[in-house]
Structures are given as C-alpha cells and as structure tokens.
C-alpha cells in the first residue's frame, strides 16, 4: 500500500469532520473519495498534506509516518495536490507558477541566485524545460507567458494540475478538479488523469462530485458521509450500494439540518 490511513479523527469544536476513517490507497491506482458536501473529503486532503493536524490516527506513506513530516516536506516526499478553490499565484505567469511547483528540485541558494554563479543557468534551464514539458502535457504550452489570474477557470484548473505535476509526484491529490469545467474540458481532464496513471505510473487520490468522471476512471472508490466511511469498492459495486444511494438521496435534508462549516471557509 502506498498510502495507509488508520483510524483518523479530526474535530472542529463540536463537529467531527473526519470520524475514525481508515483508508488504503494502492500504488498505481486512481482512488476516488466521494460523498455529499461536508463529508470530510477536503479535510482528509488537508490532513494528508499536513495543513491540519489530526486529533487521532495514523497516516503512513511508503512506510514513513507522515505525521512527523512538516507541511513543506510533503512535496519532497513525492506528494502534491491541487485545491478545490484554485490557489494559483495569480500575478505570476503560467510558466512561473509551474516553476514554483518545481521549487524543491532547484538547488540554487540565495547567493548563487543573486550573483548567478554555481550552475545557476543550468539549473534554471533544466527547470524551465521540465515546466514546459508539463505544460505540454496539459496542453497549455502556448499560454506560458500569460498571467495566471487572467486565465479562464478551465485553464486555471489545468495550470494548477501542471504545477502539482512538474516534480512527477508519486501520489497526486486532486480536489474536485472537474468542478466548473464544461464537458469538453472535463473529457480532456479525464484523458490527462488516465495518462498520468498509465504512462507516468502516478497514484491518484481524487475528490470529485462529477459522478461520470468518478465512475469512468476510478479503480477504487471510498464513500464518506458525515466524516464516516460508509462504503468502499470498485465503481460497479459502489453504484448499486444501498448505503451510498441512501446517503446521496437523503443528503439534501440532512445537510440542511446539519450544515458543515469549514473553519477556513472552504
């Protein structure tokens, strides 16, 4: 198992956002997390990337206890992510955004950067080549000089994906990558995600509300509801699982009674 989550608990005041969740993500798979709004999916992402601290439980990644790693260390362990709310560096160019994604693989310090010695240009050119290659993968190489904040939503999502891809992560966490995309863009996104799995051997943990995306590309699906894992399995068995159907159909009434508020407003 690449990523192993055991008995994870996260509480916000009186609300238990993630309640005793255990989850195993196998190497080379697309593993989807689904569930109604407020089920704890994004919180789970924040816990894995160490932005939030769990109250209880274990996260093991490639045999390493992830809870001892600092948030900035996560990327160098080969875990990158995108955000539901799209967190781009909006005044920087497309290329520069991807270059920040490559940060940990550039080995020039402040002095060699300021004075431009010690292989500065070799490092910088290598980073640029790699970033352009990744922009080609998501089909955005023609936009490299555009300002990120001026892009339409679909391209902003792709750029965020490129930024997470540039270090060729082992585990890629995608938080609702298809939200706000039209059908063409969604198909393109699905093609890219499958390419990453098949051609580049990445493992992908996906949170998504678009059921077509989830059912078509997932190898494994875990269903969360009110912070609890209620079902797990391949797409065809999840589709017909009575507990899942109940959670989704009953969710509108429940979620109105018990509206989930993320403390960070996400």
């Amino acid at each position: 198992m690449l990523l192993q989550i055991e008995n994870l608990v996260k509480k916000f005041g009186g609300l238990t956002a993630v309640n005793d969740v255990s989850l195993s993500v196998a190497q080379g798979q697309i593993h989807s997390l689904i569930g109604p709004n407020g089920a704890g999916k994004t919180t789970l992402f924040h816990l894995v990337t160490r932005i939030l601290k769990p109250d209880f439980g274990k996260i093991t990644y490639q045999g390493i206890n992830l809870l001892q790693a600092s948030p900035a260390k996560i990327a160098s362990l080969g875990i990158t992510r995108t955000f539901q709310t799209i967190e781009l560096f909006s005044d920087m160019t497309v290329l520069e955004n991807v270059l920040v994604g490559y940060h940990i693989l550039i080995h020039t310090g402040p002095i060699s950067s300021a004075l431009r010695f010690g292989g500065f240009f070799a490092e910088e050119n290598r980073a640029r080549e790699k970033s352009l290659e990744i922009l080609r993968v998501v089909g955005m190489e023609d936009y490299q000089k555009e300002i990120a904040g001026s892009l339409p939503l679909g391209q902003r999502r792709l750029l965020e994906l490129a930024r997470a891809l540039v270090i060729e992560p082992t585990l890629l966490l995608l938080d609702e990558p298809a939200s706000g995309l039209n059908i063409t863009e969604t198909n393109e996104l699905m093609r890219i995600i499958l390419h990453l799995k098949d051609q580049r051997g990445m493992t992908i943990l996906l949170v998504e509300h678009n059921m077509r995306v989830v059912m078509e590309i997932s190898d494994q699906i875990s269903v969360l509801n009110h912070g609890v894992k209620i079902a797990e399995g391949p797409p065809h068995s999840i589709k017909n699982d009575p507990r899942v159907i109940e959670a989704y159909l009953g969710s509108e009434k429940k979620s109105m009674e018990n509206e989930y508020v993320d403390p960070e407003g996400r």
Binding site: A72, E87, M92, T108, L115
Partner: protein, 314 residues
C-alpha cells in the same frame, strides 16, 4: 528559449547601465545641491528596493525600515570609531548586523499577518529609535556621533561628487542583485508566499525559511543604505530614523509599484525629489505623504510603474 547570461540581462542591464553612465557623466557639472538630491535618490533606491523584496514581493509589511537603516548607520560608524575597521568592511558588517536584526523581526512574522505584523514592526522600529536615544555610552544619545570619513584605498570620500559616485555604484549593484534574486527560485518562492501561503507550502516552499530570509535580506539592504547614509550625514543623531521615515519608505514602493524593482526606483526617485520641490510647504510634508499613500492604495494599488505596464501591456 534558453537562458544565458546575456539573454537574461539585456532588458534590465542596458537601460540601467545607460542611466548609470549618463548620471556619472553629468554629475561633475551639477551644482552641489542638485548632487545632494541625486545622492539621496540613490540611497532611497537601495532602501526601497530592499523594502520591496519584503513588502512588495513577499507580502510582509514592515514599518521599521528606518530602524534597520539606523542600525546600519550606527553600526558602520561605531565599527569605524571603536574598531577602526576599514570602510568597506564596516559597510558590509552594517548590512549584516541589520540583516540579523531583520531575521529576528521575521520570526514573529511566521505567526502574524497584516495589521498585527504592522504593529510588531512598528514596535520594533520604536525600540530601535529609543535605544539610539538612550544608550548614550554607545550611540552618544541625542548628542550624536561624528562619523569618520570613509576611505577605500587611496580614495577619500569627502567631496559631494565622490560620495555621489559611491552611492550610485552601490545602488546599481544592489538593484541588479535584487533583480537577479527575483528571477530565481528565491524570488518565485517570495512571490508565491504573497499570493497563497497554502499553495506555496504544497509546492514545498518552507514558509519559515523564506519569510525570515526575506526579512533578513530586506534589512540587509537597509543596513547597507545606513552604512552609506552616515557618510552623507557626517554627524549621526537618532532623528532621521523614526516612524515617519519608515512610512515614507513604504509610500515610495506603493507609489512606484509593489512587487516591481523598477517601481522601487521610480518611487524612490519621485519621493526623494518631491520634498525638495515642496520645500516651501515643509509643514505639510507629512500630510502630503500620507495623502499620497492613501490615494495610491485606493486608486492605483499597483503604483505608477504597474499602471504604465498595464497601459502599454508589456
């Protein structure tokens, strides 16, 4: 699109070098007063560029840059008087001492944001001001210190012209260094922090490291500026290192353009020359500066350079 030494420089190098040569060439024909103003411009360019690294690029506000300037000026002078250090060494040490102070101020910045950070830096600036006033054994207090004249080898920096050349040279070097830094991993990390800390972290940018680095670098610039400033002042007192000066430096980068090296140069030049033009209205100087700051933040948040850029789209 390979990056080479020449290719990466031509855009900034050439215009800046032309300005440098032009100024150096006309300097001997200028009268002393005008030369003095140009020298102040160079000084403020160094300071504003350093402040822009911190506030413009990294997004961390500082209301204590005159404090760092003061630390630099006093360190340089005291090292020359007490330890008889040669000027270049004293100047560099002044930068490093201020840089260390900047690093220390940067530590609370790891937890604080916006207004709270402004308060901490404001407090630090006031502490420096008070220490300069009251640690009479070291700083001479309000009586001040006489600054030894700088000399580098056979050159003595006594005349206005020689000082101008020194300031101009250092300003040029530091603007180029800042520009290099911005177009590198370090600069991109600074900027990423300003836009989204959470995403910067996800990209592996160590917030603690880069925020404190930004503070230290910015204070280093101010310290170097201080080491130069003491030579221009000739007689050091705590007066030019107060809160109003800090706000003035912030106004420079807001006016010129936050997050732009050229903006720092433009802002520093304008706000150094403006007080001279408005000499008759000296009583209203603080009012005019504060008003400019407000108007620019409200109506031209990207400053003059930012506006020119968006109009001409380059």
């Amino acid at each position: 699109m390979k990056w080479t030494i020449l290719g990466s420089y031509h855009k900034t190098w050439v215009p800046l070098l032309l300005v440098l040569i032009g100024l150096a060439a006309i300097a001997p024909f200028l009268d002393v007063y005008f030369l003095y103003i140009l020298t102040i411009v160079c000084l403020n360019v160094i300071l504003a560029t350093g402040l822009n690294l911190l506030s413009g690029y990294t997004g961390q506000i500082s209301l204590c840059h005159s404090g760092f300037l003061g630390i630099g000026a006093y360190s340089c002078t005291i090292l020359m008087i007490r330890l008889h250090l040669p000027y270049p060494l004293a100047l560099l040490s002044a930068g490093l001492i201020a840089g260390c102070a900047g690093f220390l101020v940067g530590i609370p910045a790891l937890r604080l944001r916006g207004l709270y950070l402004a308060m901490v830096t404001l407090g630090f600036g006031e502490i420096v001001h008070l220490v300069l006033h009251h640690w009479q054994g070291l700083t001479g207090g309000p009586l001040g210190l006489k600054v030894p004249t700088a000399r580098i080898g056979p050159v003595v920096f006594k005349s206005e012209l020689s000082l101008f050349y020194l300031f101009l040279f250092v300003a040029f070097i530091f603007v180029i260094l800042a520009r290099n830094l911005i177009h590198s991993k370090i600069g991109r990390a600074f900027r990423s922090i300003a836009y989204s800390e959470i995403a910067a972290q996800a990209c592996g940018v160590d917030l603690a490291k880069y925020k404190t680095l930004s503070f230290a670098l910015s204070a280093f610039y101010a310290g170097i500026a201080g080491g130069l400033y003491c030579q221009l002042l000739k007689y050091l007192s705590p007066d030019p290192f107060g809160l109003f000066e800090s706000i003035q430096y912030l106004t420079m980068i807001v006016l010129g353009g936050m997050g732009s090296i050229i903006g720092s140069v433009v802002g520093a030049s304008l706000l150094s020359i403006l007080p001279e033009i408005l000499r008759d209205f000296k009583d209203y100087q603080e009012l005019i500066f504060s008003l400019l700051l407000m108007l620019f933040i409200l109506f031209m948040p990207r400053g003059i350079y930012g506006m020119i850029r968006s109009v001409f789209r380059f």
